[in-house]
């Protein structure tokens, strides 16, 4: 027996849940025969998709023009994010990584807040408690532990919400992610771990992160794992909805592996042509999450051309607004570096602040 023959493929398995094929055909696998979506739901998914993709495209352009320091594109992962985030109730809580622009959109966070972070004017200027959406977490996987702890707190409070923790295939290798599985498992915490397996951790492929399909890991931690076509918004939505409901009902955590693909670079700083072949990207382009919903809507007469046109127009307006807002974002006040380091300040920090303020004031015309 060779090593290869002993190794399970970490890629998509045959039991991967799919409800809408890349060709836009509705399918009904066992256990999902009776899942239905209203025309409104489908139209809303499509609208989310187009607007998010436009936000992403605009942000990438802004970065190229020097207006953002960096941007982490979500191109290709729209269905994984919209499908999962639209399955949330308002009282559920989300712990994102730094690419969850679609999930943030679904939670009602103004996209300009995301741009502020990447432009470098703040570290994410939204109130997590207002949107039940945590701040972006840059350190890989750290937020999964926060999610497990938050879920434990919800359980103690007798709240019947659940927590959704986003992470990626790269993060699955982190100790924190595995520790969060242990905590959630042994404390039966109401948290759904949502892995967007986009196949690449910057330049390192999935095969270098894991030897086993990621969803199968859940079994070892004592809770269900399920693999879903991450470019199929219907499947993602249904699977996440069920997992969240199961968690809310006191049945503990679940791991969802959404098999998707990062169509662009990890961030605007890297060059994917150095590490992956064009054929792979083309293969995934045929599985585009937006196109299959568009085809389904059109083919089933659920929309007309005016619908597509109106969303296109809305996207253009959104992009124009976003661009204008981005350019108008003020740089932070220099004294901002001292703000909110502590609840109760420290004398030595106060001294540094005063010294720096005096230094700024020593220039002609004062601080500005």
């Amino acid at each position: 027996m060779t090593v290869d023959s002993m190794t399970a493929s970490p890629r998509q398995g045959t039991d991967c849940v799919q409800l809408l094929t890349p060709e836009g055909e509705r399918v009904r696998p066992p256990g999902y025969e009776n899942v239905e979506f209203s025309a409104d739901e489908l139209r809303n998914f499509y609208r989310d998709f187009v607007l998010i993709r436009r936000i992403d495209t605009e942000a990438t352009a802004l970065q190229r023009q020097g207006e953002l320091g960096i941007w982490a594109s979500l191109l290709g992962q729209e269905a994984a994010q919209v499908g999962s985030a639209r399955a949330l109730r308002p009282d559920d809580y989300v712990f994102p990584t730094y690419r969850e622009h679609g999930a943030a959109w679904c939670r009602g966070i103004d996209p300009i807040r995301l741009l502020g972070l990447y432009r470098g004017v703040d570290h994410g200027d939204w109130d997590p408690a207002e949107y039940n959406f945590g701040l972006y977490t840059i350190v890989i996987g750290a937020q999964c532990l926060h999610a497990a702890g938050y879920a434990m707190g919800m359980m103690r409070d007798g709240a019947d919400g659940a927590v959704l923790a986003y992470f990626g295939d790269g993060a699955s290798a982190q100790g924190d992610v595995n520790e969060s599985f242990i905590w959630a498992g042994v404390f039966n915490a109401p948290v759904v771990f949502f892995c967007q397996n986009n196949q690449w951790a910057i330049s390192v492929p999935l095969q270098r992160q894991t030897r086993t399909p990621l969803y199968k890991r859940a079994e070892g931690f004592g809770f269900p794992g399920i693999q879903v076509d991450g470019n199929d918004v219907l499947a993602v939505h249904e699977v996440t909805k069920r997992a969240l409901q199961n968690a809310r009902e006191g049945n503990g955590p679940a791991l969802i592996e959404a098999v998707t693909y990062r169509m662009g670079a990890h961030t605007t700083n890297d060059d994917p042509t150095r590490y992956r072949i064009a054929g792979e990207v083309e293969e995934w382009r045929l599985k585009d999450p937006i196109e299959r919903v568009r085809v389904y809507l059109a083919r089933n007469g659920l929309v007309d051309q005016a619908f597509f046109d109106s969303i296109e127009e809305e996207a253009n307006d959104l992009a124009a607004t976003l661009r204008k807002q981005c350019l108008a974002l003020p740089d932070p006040d220099p004294m901002r570096v001292f703000s909110e380091v502590y609840a109760e300040s420290s004398p030595l920090l106060d001294e540094e602040r005063e010294q720096f303020a005096r230094y700024l004031a020593s220039f002609e015309g004062g601080a500005q």
């Binding site: 570290h123 532990l145 938050y150 905590w183 909110e340 609840a343 109760e344 004398p347």
Partner: protein, 324 residues
């Protein structure tokens, strides 16, 4: 008032904090049934239940990281890290998450977490059980760091730390857990971040904290027999540092010796020496001297007496200072 050990005093402080606020949680490895490897949490789970005093899985990052989530939910977790050398697997969560969430969120996400760490040497332990890593945490903005040195401080400081809305790394000198002293549970404690002159003297100032307070006091007693009066200051809080009493003292004595168990290079004594030099330059009769561990990993237990500052090394530094 009855005399209790420092370990018991922390236990009493934790108990009172658990009674006072339902949101206070105690969590860590073995803190429940066993009462902690040093028995500091003895009896707490029995009285407050498994929901308040939580035996966790054995993973330090998990302990701290889940405490972050619990704090976001309004809880006030008190995490126990079993030994100093085991904090490093949780280091990222402490310095990247606990320390920064308030700042990152501009005050919207406070982190009222206490991280208790039994620290320092002198108990004959195997490696990774005797380290003094306080400088790592003091170097991290957003954290506060304190160290108790006696039962009364231990009793009050742990409660003050739990009440604080800032994250606090709470260093407990493990070799002093069994030191006994009276604790006045009705007292008005000193503010958590105030240093304290614990023995007045006129010839040389000695600054110390945690386990080195006892050593420094012993040195002061020995020095007094030879007519040298040391002024001993227990810093108590390492971040922020309250150096006002130190400046006052140095302006009178003209001399300063800083005593600390950590390796010397880039440790806190160097920082204290700089601050004192900046502010008391014209009062100094001698350079600020450091008595510390060495720039070597902590040695095997039977060599730790050579590594740890003791009474004689403190007196030697005092003599060198007085010789200028």
């Amino acid at each position: 008032m009855t005399a209790v050990t420092m370990g018991k005093a922390i236990n009493m402080g934790l108990r009172r904090a658990l009674e006072d606020a339902a949101k206070v949680l105690v969590m860590g490895e073995d803190v429940g049934k066993l009462g902690g490897v040093f028995r500091v949490t003895d009896g707490l789970q029995k009285d407050f239940g498994e929901e308040r005093v939580i035996d966790t899985p054995l993973a330090e990052s998990g302990i701290i990281g889940t405490a972050v989530g619990l704090a976001m939910r309004g809880y006030r977790p008190v995490c126990e890290i079993q030994f100093d050398g085991f904090v490093f697997p949780g280091f990222d969560q402490i310095v990247s998450q606990v320390a920064k969430l308030r700042y990152r969120s501009q005050g919207r996400v406070p982190m009222p977490i206490v991280i208790r760490i039994p620290f320092g040497g002198g108990i004959g332990a195997v490696e990774h059980h005797s380290e003094s890593p306080e400088a790592y945490f003091v170097h991290t903005a957003g954290l506060k760091v304190v160290s108790c040195s006696n039962p009364a401080d231990a009793y009050w400081m742990i409660q003050q730390a739990i009440r604080s809305d800032d994250p606090i790394v709470f260093f407990e000198p493990k070799r002093r857990y069994h030191d006994k002293a009276e604790v006045d549970v009705e007292a008005s404690p000193a503010p958590l971040h105030d240093a304290r002159v614990i023995r007045p003297g006129q010839h040389c100032t000695v600054v110390c904290w945690g386990p080195m307070v006892r050593t420094s006091l012993d040195a002061a007693t020995a020095a007094a027999e030879e007519g040298t009066e040391l002024e001993v200051i227990d810093l108590r809080s390492l971040s922020p540092m309250d150096l006002a009493p130190v400046y006052d003292s140095v302006q009178r004595t003209g001399r300063l010796v800083v005593v600390n168990e950590s390796p010397r290079t880039a440790g806190l004594p160097g920082e204290i020496a700089t601050l004192v030099t900046e502010r008391c330059f014209y009062h100094l009769e001698a350079p600020v001297l450091r008595v510390t561990g060495f720039d070597a990993p902590y040695p095997p237990a039977r060599a730790e007496d050579s590594f740890l500052p003791d009474l004689d090394r403190v007196l030697d530094a005092v003599d060198r200072s007085l010789a200028y």
